[in-house]
Every structure is written in structure tokens, then in C-alpha cells.
Amino acid sequence: MKRGWILPVLAGLGFVFLYAPIVALVVFSFNESRLVTVWAGFSTRWYVALVNDRQILQAAWVSLQVAVASATLATVLGVLAAFVLARLGRFRGRLLLTGMTAAPLVMPEVITGLSLLLLFVAMEGVLGWPGGRGMTTLIIAHTTFCLAFVAVIAQSRLRDMDDSLEEAARDLGAGPVRVFFDITLPVIAPALVAGWLLAFTLSLDDLVIASFVSGPGASTLPMVVFSKVRLGVSPDVNALATIIIAVVAVSIAIAGVILYRQARRRDQGG
């Protein structure tokens, strides 16, 4: 049968659509001119401007701390939620927990952000905690919406996992905690890493929720970038974008090579 040409062409155009803006962004970060569309020669001046921008650096540091903390918390809570839903069978509130781990995936960010801010303000009126808005409220908010993504990944891994391993361990006399830490956790470890990385990226990326729940002195990187970009195109943002893209591309390439090697070793061993 003749292979169709329509599908590859459509898919190819789709990839061009996905990558053209990114390529343009990277190319123009090396442009001498302030105008983002006129090429005036190669230059790294926007990178120099970027590393001397204290506001950006400070915001990046805030974002990094929040992302590490909330990704870690979200991974712990998300795996617990996934484990409960995948392994514990029926319990009271199962439907509620299912809904609450799925809904944040599609909830519009403005609603999540506003409702969490109102909760924090109300809690402060009643309990005197969390004592103003800043890093703590940011971490709580990001943990809550990242948790759902980790739970989805961990749940699908738990469902695919052969549970005869866990059964065997139980038959050999291991308690439920031992089974979880010695069998379940190591088997689903790749999903945990993927979940943590996804949560980290989502937290680092979030503008809307952070704008609601953050306070003075705790501006995240997207908040600073947004206030710059709102006024128009600015080349130091292109430089920042290029750095982020480079870091992501290199990490994914390394991860890809490791996964590929592992797969090959498994094939050769088996």
C-alpha cells in the first residue's frame, strides 16, 4: 500500500508551528538592537544586562526556593493520595478524594488563586496564621495544585505495576509499611522523579496563582517577567527565555540518554 503523504505533512507543519516562535525567541536574544525584529549583529549584551539585574536574580531565587519546597511536599502528598486511591479499595470519602485530586488539573487558575487568597485572609482573621502573605502561602498554594499532577502520574504507575510483588512480600510476613517502603516505592520511583520534576516546573512557571497569594517582598520570577513584558517586547526577557530553554533541553536530553541506555541494558539482559 502506498504510504500517505498527508499525515506526515500535517504533522510536520504542526511541529513548525510549535517551534518557530521558540527559535525566533532564541535567535533574537543574540541581537545587538533593542528592536526585536531588526537584526543588527550578534551580541551578548542582553545576557550581561540580565545577570546584572538584581530584581530578576532575587525573584529567581524566591521562585527556586518555592519550587523545591512545593514540589517535594506535593510529591509526598500526591503519592499518598495515589496510593490510597489505587490500593486501599473502598473507604469513606473515596469519591470526594477522587474528585479533589482530579479537579485542580482543569480548574481555571484565577479561581484557584482567588479562593486560596480569601482562605488565607479568613484564616488569619480567625487563627492569626499564616501571618501575612509570602513564601509560606506561595508554597501551600503551589503544593495544592501540583499535588494533583503528581497523583495522576503516580496513580497510573501504580495501576500498571504488577501487584504480585507486594502480595509476595506480604505473604513473607512484611508489614504494610515495610511493603510500601521496600517494594512499592522503589518500583514507582521513576514516576516519583517525573512527578517531582513536573511539580517543580509547574511551580516555577505559575504567574496567576502566585500573583494572588504572594505578598510584598516575595515576587516570583514570572511576576517580575510579566510586569516587564506587559510594557512590550524586551530583549533581556529573550535572553532569560533562551537560558531556560537551554537548561530544559539539556536536562531532557540527559534524561533521554539515561532512559535509552537503561532500556537497552534491560533488553540485552533479558
Binding site: L97, M107, I111, S115, L118, G175
Partner: protein
């Protein structure tokens, strides 16, 4: 028994004395977190939407007040909801958000489907590489991906310079600050959310179906329309949900690419909160968005799940 399980035994015994099992505890931790930080906020939202804005901290009236005789009086005020109904600005914003989100979802499906289908039928290792290429932009900043289009679409942008240079147009096209730009931005940034569920669904379909259809003499187009498309319906539904619902409440894209006349409800909510500083009105806008749009779509999704259509 290993040393690790001993402290656990003591803890378990202690909790058992309190009437708590380890099982309850494991369920309780994620449950309590989500109740407190996901579900309860919606009740707070509903309660504040019934308050009146005042100049104070926090800027809304309390729900209860002591009357002159010392009795508790509940203060609920439906003024915000009346205004949402009466003022055409809000109604138009809801309608135009739904329209923009729907159009964007359709285009994301039209662009995403061939990509997902192509990847699903590609041999390894090309398949993994293509999949990584779809995911890669998703790992970079959402904000910066929207920003990238500003350089493309503006008056002196790349598209206009290219078209002018080729002599295809005489005057620059107005693309920035239009509804078109917003739809383009949504399609672009949400495309991976469309492709991934479609791909996951399409890889699960057994090749035997396609072979059988071809053996029985069906042309590729017929096979696609009568076999592939119906079988991939769960993926289509999942992908459309993942694009449509968040797109309705989108703020960043209309703020950066839209014009003053691009009405979207997420932007209205944002302005009520950050510019007008009316927390009560912002809450009412959010509640109506939840009741009108998000709840029915989520109900539909769970109904499909129960019917086993989303396996």
C-alpha cells in the same frame, strides 16, 4: 523484624489506643490537606461573594453581626449577583470567553490530531523522540511562550516584515491585540494538553482494526472516518476538556495578546480584584464561572468516566 518496623509498631499501638489505624492515618493526610486548601476555599469564596465591599482590612463586611439586642444577624447580600445579571459587561464576558475557548479548542484538535496520530504510528525510536519534542515546549515557561508571539504578531513583527518583504501585502496587518491573537495564543500554549491524551488513546488502539478495515477494501479515508475516529473519541473528549476549561478562565493570554475589546471573564475577575479592589465582586464572578461552566463540564467528565468511556 527489621529495626525500621519497630518504631512503627509502637506508633501503631499508640494510635490504636486512640482509636486510629494506620490506614485511617494514610487516608487522612492527603484528604485533610485537600479539604482545607482545595474545598474549603470555595465555601469562603461563596461567603465573600455575599458580602459588601467596605474600606477596611479585609475589605468586605462580616457574615454575622450583633444586632442591637445582641442577637446574631446573618448579613447576606445578593447585590453582586444582581449586578452580574443586569450589567451586560459581565454577561458578554462570559459568553465571549466560552466562544473564544470553544474556537481555540476546535483548532487545537485540528492541529493536534494529525501530530498525535503521526507519533502514535511512528516506529520506535522516532516515536519517543517526537513525543519528547511535543513535551519540550511544555517544560519551558508558559509566560515566555505567550511572549514569543508578541514578537511575531506586532506591527513591526516578523510576520508583517516577511509579508511586506515578499510584497504580499501593502500595509502591515493588525494582528496584535485582537481576538485572533488570543485564540492563536491559547491554541499554541495548550497544544500539548490536546496531543498527549490523544496520543495515549491512539497508541492503545489495536492495529488489527486498521488491517481488517483495509483488507475489507476500505479506502484510508473511510478507515479513518469509520474506525480510527470513533475509537479515539475518549482521547478527543479528554483533550478537549483539558484545553476548554482552563482556557475559559485564561488571564495571561488575553492580557498580553488581546486588545481592550477582547473580553474574557478571567481578565474581568483579575481587574475586579487587582484594579477595582472589589473582592466581593471578584468572588461572585468566580462563583458564577464555577457554577455555569466548570461544574457541568466536570460532571460530564465524571459521567464519561463512569460509563467507562475514558479508559
Amino acid at each position: 523484624m527489621s529495626a525500621r518496623s519497630r518504631p512503627w509498631r509502637w506508633t501503631a499501638r499508640g494510635l490504636g489506643a486512640l482509636g486510629l489505624s494506620g490506614r485511617t492515618l494514610v487516608v487522612a493526610v492527603p484528604m485533610l490537606w485537600l479539604l482545607l486548601f482545595f474545598l474549603v476555599p470555595f465555601f469562603v469564596l461563596g461567603r465573600i461573594s455575599l458580602a459588601e465591599p467596605i474600606l477596611a482590612r479585609p475589605p468586605y463586611t462580616p457574615l454575622f453581626e450583633r444586632g442591637p439586642d445582641g442577637a446574631l444577624v446573618i448579613l447576606a447580600n445578593l447585590e453582586n449577583y444582581r449586578l452580574l445579571w443586569a450589567d451586560t459587561l459581565y454577561r458578554n464576558a462570559y459568553l465571549s470567553s466560552i466562544r473564544i475557548a470553544a474556537v481555540s479548542t476546535v483548532f487545537a484538535l485540528l492541529i493536534g490530531y494529525p501530530i498525535a496520530y503521526y507519533i502514535a504510528r511512528a516506529p520506535e525510536p522516532r516515536r519517543t523522540i517526537l513525543l519528547l519534542l511535543v513535551i519540550l515546549p511544555f517544560w519551558t515557561s508558559f509566560l515566555l511562550r505567550v511572549y514569543a508571539w508578541m514578537g511575531f504578531l506586532q506591527r513591526e513583527g516578523l510576520i508583517n516584515s516577511a509579508l511586506l518583504g515578499l510584497g504580499l501585502i501593502d500595509a502591515p496587518l493588525v494582528m496584535m491585540q485582537t481576538t485572533f491573537a488570543v485564540q492563536l495564543g491559547i491554541v499554541y500554549t495548550y497544544l500539548p494538553f490536546m496531543i498527549l491524551p490523544l496520543y495515549a488513546n491512539l497508541t492503545k488502539i489495536d492495529d488489527a482494526f486498521f488491517e481488517a478495515s483495509a483488507d475489507l477494501g476500505a479506502a484510508p479515508v473511510v478507515t479513518f472516518l469509520t474506525v480510527t475516529l470513533p475509537l479515539s473519541l475518549p482521547g478527543i473528549i479528554a483533550g478537549c476538556m483539558l484545553v476548554f476549561i482552563p482556557a475559559i478562565g485564561e488571564y495571561v493570554i488575553p492580557a498580553l495578546l488581546g486588545g481592550p475589546d477582547t473580553l474574557m471573564i478571567g481578565r474581568v475577575l483579575w481587574d475586579e480584584f487587582f484594579s477595582a479592589r472589589d473582592w466581593t465582586m471578584a468572588s461572585a464572578v468566580a462563583i458564577v464561572m464555577l457554577v455555569l461552566v466548570v461544574a457541568p463540564v466536570m460532571w460530564l467528565q465524571s459521567w464519561l468516566d463512569r460509563r467507562g468511556l475514558n479508559g
